[in-house]
């Protein structure tokens, strides 16, 4: 494996989804298929319901590294302190090529993304993507009753509709997903088994291996050179910005245009007034902005780019807030 990879930042992928959606099966499948070709690190919630312990995972007979955290449901940013202090030495010890975190159904993906900006972590890893699994059978009930389920879909790059064999047709589910997240890439699966072409596509998406234009097509061949998913990866960083303010639409558009020149990806939601929100996705210089209504929650933006300066990027974005309702 490529030892020089130690110096590069490691892609960190969030795997979200409500209990029973098939996250652990997906991880097992991933380990089986790819652990011979890259160093995989998994982070699991030791005490989450449905947790498959290290022993079961090791029965795959494949090499991987496992970090078990015990934050219960990880439902609150205030419970992430221990996560930070344990992740840093884990990375130093194992130098994985990719890290996948299995988050619980109640975990806040944006808080997890923010934590990666902690000193000691931000120079080692970056938030490369978020995959959200849905259980096709229980989708409608979960989506109606749990706001975090909608949040996890909204933040996801890829939404995997699992257990499609148990229902008749996915058009309603697809429509609902796109209503929540107009830019979601939707993949249908059974038993957490993702078609290899799709999985490679996901990995490439996360590792920025190919240009977005190439990414639209199936990966030309099934080969991933040993340990090299990150080979052409420049020194990427991620930045997560959250704000409860309203923003000036024109200034935000200028900002997006300017920053898309160097960013690999930017996605998220920026509120411009009480009822309108900009849903934004850029992939290199391809910019998509849609105005959506009925958005819940604060503005949340995730940006990925080479040598991205977190503080400066946040500061510049936050300076586009509308100056209102202040009572000096």
């Amino acid at each position: 494996m490529d030892q020089g990879n130690h110096l590069k930042k490691i892609p960190f992928i969030l795997v979200t989804g409500f209990l029973g959606s098939g996250k652990t099966s997906l991880l097992l499948d991933f380990v089986r298929k790819y652990s011979d070709r890259m160093r995989i690190a998994l982070i699991q919630n030791e005490f989450a319901p449905g947790h498959v312990d290290g022993f079961t995972l090791k029965q795959t007979g494949k090499p991987f590294e496992l970090l078990e955290i015990n934050n219960g449901s990880v439902f609150c940013a205030c419970l992430l302190g221990d996560f930070i202090s344990r992740l840093e030495p884990f990375i130093d010890q194992h130098h994985p090529d990719v890290i996948l975190l299995e988050a619980t159904g109640l975990a806040d993906p944006v808080s997890l993304g923010q934590v990666l900006q902690a000193p000691g972590l931000s120079d080692k890893i970056y938030l490369a993507g978020s995959w959200c699994l849905l259980d096709a059978l229980n989708f409608q009930r979960v989506i109606q009753s749990i706001s975090r389920a909608r949040h996890q879909i909204r933040i996801a790059d890829v939404v995997l509709i699992n257990k499609i064999d148990l229902i008749h047709g996915t058009s309603e589910i697809r429509a609902k997903i796109l209503e929540i997240n107009p830019f979601a890439k939707i993949i249908e699966t059974t038993f957490g088994n993702i078609d290899e072409l799709h999985l490679l596509d996901l990995l490439n998406f996360a590792s920025k291996k190919c240009h977005p234009d190439e990414r639209r097509d199936p990966v030309p061949n099934h080969e991933i050179p040993d340990g090299n998913i990150s080979e052409p990866r420049p020194n990427l960083s991620s930045c997560v910005v959250r704000s409860t303010r309203y923003f000036d639409e024109g200034l935000v558009r200028d900002f997006i245009l300017q920053h898309s020149q160097y960013l690999h990806r930017l996605k998220g939601y920026i509120r411009i007034d009480e009822s309108n929100t900009m849903a934004i996705q850029t992939v290199f210089t391809q910019i998509s902005i849609t105005i959506v209504s009925g958005y819940e929650g604060p503005c949340e933006i995730i940006a990925i780019g080479p040598n991205l300066d977190n503080r400066e990027f946040s500061k510049q974005l936050l300076s586009l807030k509308k100056n209102e309702n202040k009572t000096h």
């Binding site: 005490f47 015990n70 205030c78 009753s145 706001s147 959250r242 409860t244």
Partner: protein, 540 residues
């Protein structure tokens, strides 16, 4: 007004000249006294020590005794997993599967770690009669989730009656726990129910309203006060939360403070929040925290508002960050400075001041907000103005107000962080506090002396003693030393015994003495070749 009175005044919706400050110190108290979360949350003595340390460092108006939402769950039979830097996590849910709620008994004050928290409350009450003590209790829905697990969400659809029964039970637990804490000396009960952020207002009204309202009604009947804490994306529920009748609602960074203010004020309820926990309090600088605090205060206003973090402080939140919030909240000048600097241009020019202070005179710069409107700034300027004439033209002083771009540029170039600040010859010398006259004179005099020494040290020339050996040079060395001593000057003396170097100096017989005089011909410039030629001719 300060401390408990201030918190209660704000809690009742009063206007406050100073906004009350309530840092939610949980396991962070353990960090302050070098204990991990497990040790800390098992010992009343450690909690008292940790909270006492927090009170000493952060000067809060109110503080929670303990922030652990698993205490009631543990007392009811949930197994906990412990971490060093977090409160524990619930590992088992006694009601999951087929277990019936009748298998659970109501709690009593001697179960689990409840006595530990009550003991800590009594001791802190005795020790700090003037600080508002918050007793934290787990809200009925979050406690229900602990007992049943995530099944609770599905059961709300499939078997709503069982959830009504569960929440009826858990609200009884919350009421009991509230009473224990109030009897032990708490002033305010905070019902912490973060999981309600996961449901919408209809479900909240159907399932949560009645159980939570019963808790707030009960607290009011005991003539005490209540707050409803929620974290996460709970914006949709603020209105229905108000309808449960708390005295106060406290929220985190996910919800706009002005949104909460507007709704709460409509119900006559006070509100609090929402310092950012992760990016600002945990990972930011003291300046970031102060800016966030001022931003919260500006948005919220000073009627019925309590400044607090969004939730339990992460264990290793830097002490300097919390102290910075504690200091800015009572310092209106510092707040004005932060507001002024917030509007400084993004790309402030940084001047190269590497050569600053190398002039003959001593330059004193005072960086101020504006000496006409900021009292500390005015006193600092007057102090300098008064002593400067005593140095008879040797001292030159300037005020740089950061209300002007020039002032901001100058401040950034000298790396000044606090206002007002005195710099002497570009070096930060007095920060924030007005120096007593004697200290200011001493500092300026010390710089004058330093400059004098530097000038004396500048090499004017040197003496070269040449000989075949050190012994041959010895008599000449002694006479030279005596001559320098008699003149009282400083000049370097070098000895050279290398025949080639001696020869290159044009000396044919030793011992010999060569005097060298240095003369600066050009500095920081590019003289022409002809000019340089003239200088060379003078020495050949």
């Amino acid at each position: 007004m300060k401390g408990k009175d201030l918190v209660l005044h704000a809690l009742k919706g009063g206007q406050c000249s100073t906004i009350p400050w309530v840092p939610f110190v949980g396991v962070h108290g353990g960090h302050l006294i070098g204990k991990n979360a497990n040790e800390y949350l098992h010992s009343a003595d450690l909690m008292v020590n940790g909270i006492s340390k927090a009170i000493e460092l952060y000067e809060p108006d109110g503080i929670p005794v303990c922030f652990d939402l698993q205490i009631e769950a543990e007392a009811l039979g949930c197994k906990l997993g412990w971490a060093d830097e977090n409160p524990p996590a619930v590992l088992s849910h006694p009601l999951s599967g087929l277990s019936n709620i009748s298998s659970l008994n109501p709690i009593s004050p001697d179960q689990g770690r409840i006595p530990v928290v009550l003991k800590a409350t009594r001791e802190l009450r005795k020790k700090y009669p003037d600080i508002a003590l918050y007793g934290l209790v787990t809200g009925p829905f979050t406690l229900g989730l602990h007992l049943l697990g995530t099944e609770i969400f599905m059961r709300m659809f499939e078997d709503p009656a069982s959830i009504h029964e569960l929440l009826d039970f858990t609200s009884g637990v919350t009421r009991s726990m509230s009473k224990y804490l109030l009897d032990a000396g708490c002033d305010i009960i905070a019902v912490v129910d973060p999981m309600t952020s996961q449901i919408g207002p209809d479900q909240f009204t159907e399932f949560i309203h009645k159980p939570v309202k019963s808790v707030f009604d009960d607290i009011r009947q005991q003539s005490k006060y209540s707050s409803f804490f929620v974290c996460g994306h709970a914006q949709q529920n603020i209105d229905v939360m108000c309808k449960t009748g708390p005295d106060n609602i406290s929220i985190d960074e996910n919800i706009p403070l002005d949104f909460v203010r507007n709704i709460c004020q409509g119900y006559g309820i006070s509100f609090g929040g929402n310092l950012q926990l992760t990016l600002v309090m945990l990972m930011g600088t003291p300046e970031d925290c102060q800016r966030n605090a001022v931003d919260c205060m500006d948005i919220a206003g000073n009627i019925g508002f309590i400044l607090a973090p969004g939730c339990d402080l992460p264990m290793k939140t830097p002490i300097a960050n919390l102290k910075a919030v504690g200091s800015v909240i009572r310092d209106s000048y510092q707040q004005d400075i932060i507001r002024t600097l917030e509007h400084k241009p993004d790309k402030t020019k940084i001047l190269n001041l590497g050569e600053y202070g190398k002039t003959d005179r001593v330059i004193v710069d005072i960086i101020t907000l504006d000496s006409e409107s900021c009292a500390p700034c005015q006193y600092m300027v007057e102090a300098v103005k008064e002593v400067a004439p005593h140095f008879e033209g040797l001292v030159e002083w300037h005020e740089h107000s950061i209300k002007n771009l020039e002032g901001v540029t100058f401040m950034s170039s000298l790396f000044v962080k606090n206002i007002p600040t005195i710099c002497i010859d570009g070096k930060i010398t007095f920060v924030s506090q007005i120096p007593p006259r004697n200290e200011l004179i001493r500092a300026i005099q010390s710089r004058i002396n330093e400059k004098l020494k530097i000038r004396l040290r500048v090499k004017q020339g040197e003496i070269l003693l040449l000989g075949k050996s050190s012994e041959e040079i010895a008599p000449l060395r002694e006479k030279t030393r005596q001559a320098i001593a008699e003149l009282g000057v400083t000049i370097e003396v070098r000895e050279e015994t290398d025949p080639l170097i001696i020869q290159s100096l044009g000396v044919t017989q030793t011992p010999a003495l060569v005097s060298v005089k240095y003369k600066i011909r050009s500095e920081a410039g590019q003289p022409g070749t002809d000019v340089i030629k003239e200088w060379i001719k003078e020495i050949i």
